[in-house]
Point group: C2
Chain length 165, copies 2
């Protein structure tokens, strides 16, 4: 078992999480499940990552809410194990779905409202600037919708992209 490489990946994944607003512990647990590709139970994770059981429990709950891990029951074992979503793109889509819903949709609603009001208002504010922002967010919204509606096609499409030398 190549402990050191696992650590490397887990810490990288943790760092990446931090950069994107995901708690470090949560991301490390996720990283562990990704890189080892086998089910882990809480106490094994506690032991492996040297963090408290409550922290692991909370992190797993968080990961479940993003639909990127699932419970696995091993026959003859009372403990609950967790394994990560096996398809990386599927994982990404699940995260996108959640983030769009939690973060993009409310913002878009709010900006649209402001935009509407601004058109009627006596003004003094940059109406077309505001419209530009709304338009940009709309584009994201549409891209996300398209991608999430046609997951298979997106997967196929990205595989056509030129590889960097």
């Amino acid at each position: 078992m190549n402990e050191e490489l696992i650590n490397q990946f887990v810490e990288t994944w943790g760092t990446m999480g931090s950069a994107w607003g995901v708690n470090n512990s949560v991301a490390r647990v996720h990283g562990l499940l990704i890189i080892t590709d086998r089910p882990w139970c809480i106490d094994e994770i506690v032991e492996r990552l040297q963090i408290s059981k409550s922290n692991v429990s909370t992190s797993l709950k968080e990961l479940r809410s993003w639909n990127v891990i699932r419970k696995v029951f091993l026959p003859g074992d009372r403990r609950e194990f967790y394994a990560c979503e096996p398809d990386a793109w599927e994982m990404l889509f699940n995260i996108m779905r959640q983030r769009k819903q939690r973060e993009l949709d409310p913002i878009l609603a709010s900006i649209s409202l402001t935009c509407e009001q601004a058109k009627k208002a006596p003004s003094g504010i940059a109406v077309d600037r505001l419209a530009q922002m709304k338009q940009m967010l709309d584009v994201f919204d549409n891209l996300a919708r398209l991608a999430l509606k046609s997951e298979a096609q997106v997967k196929a499409l990205v595989s056509l992209l030129p590889n960097r030398k």
Copy 2:
């Protein structure tokens, strides 16, 4: 002057910032510059947003580092004014450029390294899972490269997207 609508937008932009890992004050200042579309000096921002001068100064510095605002000198006024990048897409590209450089590139480098080592190693880790992750990050890298290399085309392309009803 429509104070209330400005507040609405500024707070929304601040909230959005928080969701994407940008400090709330930084995002609010940015929002103010976006929505009013005219140059502001520090003390005006202090007065308008009711935050300290040091906070505004730091926030402006941060925004400058993302290349989304620029200094403006008004004739006959010693103060430094700031206005935001006038083109929303250009603003987005500038942010993408910075985030890619600061966050994606280092992660990609680290994962690539781990991936190489894993191929040679005695294993026990999920090599193909790791490769899948690397491949996904590569796709992002390529997409970002393409977009940033052909900004005009991207702007043209997104305008073709279907609008939501």
